[in-house]
Symmetry: C2
Amino acid sequence: MLNKASVIIPPMKVSELGEFGLINLIRGSIARYENSGQASWQKVLVGIGDDAAAWQSDDHIHLATTDTLVQDIHFDLDVIHWEELGWKALAVNLSDIAAMGGIPKYALLSLALPGELEVEDISKFVDAMVHLARKFGVAVIGGNVATAPNVVITVTVIGCSNDEAILKRSTASSGEQIAVTGYLGLSAAGLEMLKRKPISDREASNILRRAHFQPIPKIREGQILAEQGVKTAIDISDGLVADLDHICESSKVNARIRVEQVPVHPVVTANFLNHQELALCGGEDYELLFTADEATVARVKQALNSPVTIIGDITEEKLPTRVTVIDSMGNIIPYKRGGWEHFKNGVTEIKFAEP
Amino acid sequence: MLNKASVIIPPMKVSELGEFGLINLIRGSIARYENSGQASWQKVLVGIGDDAAAWQSDDHIHLATTDTLVQDIHFDLDVIHWEELGWKALAVNLSDIAAMGGIPKYALLSLALPGELEVEDISKFVDAMVHLARKFGVAVIGGNVATAPNVVITVTVIGCSNDEAILKRSTASSGEQIAVTGYLGLSAAGLEMLKRKPISDREASNILRRAHFQPIPKIREGQILAEQGVKTAIDISDGLVADLDHICESSKVNARIRVEQVPVHPVVTANFLNHQELALCGGEDYELLFTADEATVARVKQALNSPVTIIGDITEEKLPTRVTVIDSMGNIIPYKRGGWEHFKNGVTEIKFAEP
């Protein structure tokens, strides 16, 4: 355990420290109190570093997660509609509960905004959030509102585990298959379309926009994974490679992805030359990425209505990087670490890393 | 129940709509789903509009609250120290749990900040927050970090009720006494000192600064109130008059404050000519304001180590305003509604109002 007096911090900016340094700093500060024997700490099953925090009560595992969206960092009000923003602000949190195999129950909304905004827009925002909440049986029960120079939305979702099984990042083991629900690349392709590559096909354009702004959290899928015996999962928010790396780091394992097996969405393949990169590194697909033995993955495939694709394996082999992408000939494919080394590379969001 | 089609919103800015309009808009949007019979909703005991939300599980009442602090709106980094900011961001949420008579258990931290900040400052911030958390047996179990142009801190605290009794805003009734814990005015006086009135006395200056930046949430006091049979309480964040008005609005009653009975802190009386105004309207004292019958208030006085002062009564009499302040001769004392009609008057924070 770190001793408080032993922590010496040289003069440094957060941007120089980067993601992992900042995470370690926060975790270190908390770790100095973690083993204090207090009752709350004793019941913590998953602390900082997974998709959601988890703690045990007499009869349930409880889950909680929070995420903030900042104007001009996470969204551009010239592009996103208020309905889409209301949907997305809740959806990304529901997805964190899905990644734990949990059931979302309650949501709190903290809304900081400039007074010159149109009331009608805020109304659309709240309506859309409540609409999505209802789809998943979630009650919006509290929050607060404050003036701010720019829009900052923080949503907290509280849930529970159905049958005492939760999905974590830290439980992957060698020999397991790596699998993913649904198709990848749509959300990143949607962003690319909005930023610099208009798509004339109306239907394709709608699918791309919706994937980026109104992702569907995979709540039922996460519960089925847990029911079928899967132990390890994460939702794809940072990108397939980055999120698989989070699992590998937490579980202290290596992973190999077979690039030709990665299920790229056909709309992405048809419209984007860089479809492979979008699927590997794009992020915000909010599909579930999980690892399990062959029999468990087979059961999940049977149980789920949506596609499940095996894309690689967890291995003890010494690989050049924690996550290695290979082609059908076994050649290593280099990939960009996009969406991942935050602050340092100007990318914006950090989930506290697994201890 | 409102019908969605019936809601017509004329073109209007949030600042024109003001606090109550915005609250009604958000509550209206949520109310359209509230009676949908979904399981989560059925268990809600207190939704939007109290200090914290509350819901029932098989064996517990659970509580959750969230609050956001925005740079240059809620705090000025040229004045507040990072340690103080870390303390205060958690303390205001713990105070909301105290106002429900609850026990805080878990906290989530969402931190949006510019990359050019000093790492050492963030370290001080987190250390102070975790230090306060430990004082009250709270585990900081999750959160997220994101880049932002200015600092925005959202803390969520989850807790429970010890013995199925919670304190609400909506249960005050005619004939009850109005009482308050501790002394009032210190925090607002501290702000005034920092902004425009330096105090040369070092000890007084320290007390004022600490009251404003490092308030002590009245957790134990809240629990004792609930144990002794109090039903109605709020924490003083907006100001004595404003927060009493929240109780009156929720409970549909009127209140009378006897100004000479209001316990102004001696440091405030000694250093500020406007001490009465600071105690009545200043806010951020984070003391508990409650109503109960005479016998219950007497029991609370016995049970609490800290002072409890009776300052007025809930009445059926027709009074000029929902909250009326009178002097010892029975004359009505006009007061400013400072800290209260948000957005419209440029004041910054709203707790969703009680339905």
